[in-house]
Symmetry: C2
Subunit: 588 residues, 2 copies
């Protein structure tokens, strides 16, 4: 440490929000170069390389082959798959000196597909699993939390190529198993959840989330433990149709000054009591929410979403459902363009039944056929009661947009849901034939006929993993790395004024290194013991060895960074004891 390019900071950096991000900067692992763009200092680079090595080993072990594509890519393949447009402002676009359009790769489906097309031509060539560990670029609107959501970041992306669906399912399963091994080795709490397939197209998809209150993703788990999904991927089953024959005919009532659900429920209970005597609740009302979609090509389209009045439209679920379009607010000027919309009293009439608005109308999946509602009558101060879905109105389709709540029934029919937050660390995905079709990847099948290849796409956020693990393992005093990715096996602190201390510490470092351990050696001559101990706690190497005052009595101290447990061991036993601490499995 007397020569290491490292300076720890006592103060939190101004631009860091999360504890892990603050510590990574303070402990000298990373530095910000631009918003969402980070430099790796020596300690950080070691952790990054350790994560990469684990990912590489397990990908190789499953038979995937490593290659490496450029980050600077031509426009044409991304044009062929429409992603040049679909990615919108998230794509870094540039022109070269000849004015040719290029991009910085956000993910490489196109390039892998074209390369397999270039090399392979027969079903006999398949299956093949290919991967790279490579720098990617996305111009995030809100780069966040250091490495957690960066604009330049390192990903492992892999792709499977198969002739049939069974092959894809098996490649998917092989990736799933490799990912479990990787995330187990990385040493943090994670959960595998059903995922929304989003803009990628395709079908089956799961995410590996690091469980963290700082996560951007909300996920649900059922109380039985059998169901887990990203909140965007919770597909509430549509209830079976109910018999509405006893529901009275729909009737419009005056409900002055009831532009909100609360005011409506109060007015309904006061002035229009229910036939069966039960009170009206927000759950009996149908709320129609308008949003303005912006499609990737820039065109705008209004959309109406009907949800039960006791629920909100969940922004992320809506976003996932309408992707690649982006939902935005339906503003006053938009209302002005649609005078048939009575703000606060919008109903399925103008949206669904007579289509007077011309606006696409989707009903939340929880709204079954035969259900009766109190909802807007498309006139200020009026609502319609007992409006029955399927009898009195229909919509253009179904959407999964209402918010999901703790205690909701699990979509698998067993137990209820609990909610938590997580950081997306990995994503596995049965992509299907979308890219192969767009780019013409076909091979001859057993009958000599051309068949389109089916693909899987699998990602791990490698630089994000460093941040997520830091976040998930830190404590009040600093970073606290899992052994396999720690920048060193041992942090050896030599402290004292006696030259014998440093002489012995030098020897001990050499002996530990000859045992194959990596040692971060604090040999700084004029730094106080307090500063050295604080730095060791901040840097977060799991085993701290102190060579100091005890040496006169023939002992050194071994300290567990996580538990804080310390013990004195005899100098003669020091190497054996430290090795046992670092590799308990080898000595057990």
């Amino acid at each position: 440490m007397s020569t290491l390019f490292l300076r720890t900071l006592r103060e939190d950096p101004a631009d860091a929000e999360l504890p892990g991000h603050k510590l990574l900067v303070r402990a000298g692992y990373i530095r910000r170069a631009a918003p969402g763009v980070y430099s790796w200092l020596p300690l950080g680079l070691r952790v990054l390389r350790n994560v990469e090595a684990i990912v590489r080993e397990e990908m190789d072990a499953m038979g995937a082959q490593e290659l490496s594509f450029p980050a600077l890519l031509p426009r044409e393949p991304y044009e062929a798959t429409n992603r040049w447009t679909e990615y919108g402002p998230n794509l870094f676009r540039l022109q070269d000196r000849k004015g040719v359009d290029m991009l910085l790769g956000p993910t490489h489906e196109e390039m892998f597909t074209l390369t397999v097309k270039d090399l392979f031509s027969s079903y006999k060539d398949l299956p093949v699993n290919l991967y790279q560990i490579q720098t990617k670029y996305r111009d995030e609107a809100r780069p966040r939390a250091g490495l957690l959501r960066g604009r330049e970041f390192i990903m492992k992306d892999s792709y499977s190529f198969d002739v049939d669906d069974a092959g894809l399912a098996s490649a998917y399963q092989a990736h799933r198993e490799a990912y479990i091994k990787i995330f187990d080795r990385l040493g943090f709490d994670y959960v595998i959840v059903h995922a929304d397939s989003g803009a990628m197209g395709g079908s089956a998809s799961e995410e590996f989330l690091a469980i963290s209150p700082h996560g951007e993703d909300t996920f649900v788990r059922s109380t039985t433990g059998e169901y887990a999904a990203n909140v965007e991927a919770v597909y509430v089953p549509t209830p079976a149709a109910v018999d509405a024959s006893t529901v009275p005919a729909a009737a419009v009532h005056d409900t002055p000054d009831t532009p909100t659900i609360e005011t409506l429920v109060a007015s309904a209970n006061a002035n229009h009591p229910r036939e069966d005597g039960r009170a009206w609740t927000a759950a009996d009302t149908l709320k129609n929410v308008l949003v303005m979609l912006t499609h990737p090509d820039g065109t705008r389209e209004p959309l109406a979403v009907g949800v039960p009045g006791d629920r909100e439209v969940d922004a992320k679920r809506l976003e996932a459902q309408v992707s690649p379009a982006a939902p935005g607010a339906f503003e006053d000027k938009d209302f002005a363009a649609y005078p048939m919309l009575a703000k606060g009293y919008i109903g399925p009439g103008v949206l669904g039944s007579d289509k007077a608005s011309g606006i696409r109308y989707l009903l939340d999946a929880s709204i079954g056929e035969g259900s009766a509602w109190v909802t807007g009558a498309d006139e200020h101060g009026k609502h319609v009661f007992n409006l029955v879905h399927g009898r009195d109105f229909t919509a253009d389709g179904v959407i999964h947009a209402a918010d999901i709540r703790e205690g909701d029934a699990s979509p698998d029919g067993n137990g209820t849901l609990t909610l938590a937050r997580g950081i997306e660390m990995g994503h596995i995905f049965q992509l299907g034939r979308k890219y192969a079709e767009a780019l013409g990847l076909q091979v001859l099948d057993q009958n000599g006929k051309l068949t389109t290849v089916t693909m899987g796409s699998y990602g791990i956020g490698v630089s994000r993993a460093v941040a997520a693990i830091a976040e998930g393992t830190l404590d009040e005093i600093g970073l606290c790395w899992p052994r396999e990715i720690s920048p060193a096996d041992v942090h050896l602190v030599a402290t004292g004024k006696d030259q014998a201390i440093f002489d012995y510490a030098d020897t001990l470092v050499g002996e530990l290194e000859s045992q194959g351990l990596t040692v971060l050696y604090d040999d700084r001559p004029k730094v106080s013991p307090g500063v050295k101990f604080k730095d060791a706690e901040l840097v977060g190497v799991p085993t701290i060895v102190v060579v100091g005052r005890g040496l006169e009595q023939g002992t050194v101290e071994i300290k567990d960074r996580r538990t804080g447990e310390r013990r004195e061991v005899a100098v003669a036993e020091a190497v054996r004891e430290v090795v046992a601490e670092v590799r308990p499995e080898a000595t057990a």
Copy 2:
């Protein structure tokens, strides 16, 4: 090879010029993604990683510390050093979604300087040597020969930081020694030459060139072997002033129809014989060449260069001398703007003596004081004879722009020069204080005063090395890798119809791998022996082992890829013999 993502090609790719580039594509090492942008297939990636590992080991061994900067960088630091402008169209510039200017890093002096400034503040912190192995971007006007001159490429760049010149000299020397170790291990012929410091500013500088007829760089070596330089860096010593007192007064003569040196010499000898009876030669004439410079900021400036009539202005030497401006042709419209220039008869009068043109005029360094010349008289059909430099005309300065020829005197005064071509593989460079000054990198010295840090900058073209080594080691039948960077230690070909052959080959592969060797195993069941042998020759692993017909007699064949030598060894000896072939040093 039955599952490897590899397909060799029999045909040369259409866009490849050089033999090595053709073979790297044909043998399945790389594929073009865009002009000057390449993808690494599995075999290519292995070679690249082997080169990286050698570079990393030697950089670590010299005490340099690895970190990693982003490729996507903010404009401001490059603005501060003026490189945002100086790099001109070679820089990939882009804007993010907020319209903020960014760039793709062509080299990282700025970022390293700022990070040292961020972390260090005292002379006690220095010296420090930092490096990264990272992807860089330059929008080359003419991307060339695959990996040799790419627009996305991998470089090791390192930087030294010292408080004084002695420290810089010592860091430079340490890098020089590490580079020698690296290039020795990479296993190809190279030469270390003096280099021009070009746009980087600074002083001492050397290049490591791979000797190759396909190189873009021309270099000279003296016949004594003591002097070697890139042709741009040859500084011809200015001759001592000679006594011109016996030279007759300058006189203008009619020399009609002599716009070229040949016609001028012929006319002079015919009509104006020399006083001393010797014939006029081209070497007695002074040619004044006009070029139009374009400065990085886009402004244009005419420049006149005077060279002896028997020499040409060397485009690369000129370019190096006027950098960061770029020289271009002086066109007819430019002549129209300077009517005082009599095309074909331009002389030092209008350029040098009376400065009527206002054009900057530089004389080649070979033109000494007191030398007499036949040169243009600034009037069509007229030349001036016996015009003496220093007596009759002067210029605005000196330039090293005349071409260098085989047999020229060596600038060190010993022997003459020979010319050859090379590929720039490495560059070491005493940068000095340019970047530290521009970015304010100062530390407190021993007296507590702020002092500006002095820097060195050192680069190795890692991806280029793969191409250069391929180019330098190939033969008529394929690639031919040096051992340390070969994609595998052994290429094992199993061939025949007998299952016993493949069974034994499987075993042998396992045994070789357990000895720590990497084996490229051609286990393809239905491929002919001829195709397998051709592929092995093309792929270029140094040791080829054939398990085939000989197996019945209890032998396998070991073949040296480079020499073609083959020998049969007994099955019982096979592992030992192959290991001895791959690691002769370990068994000698």
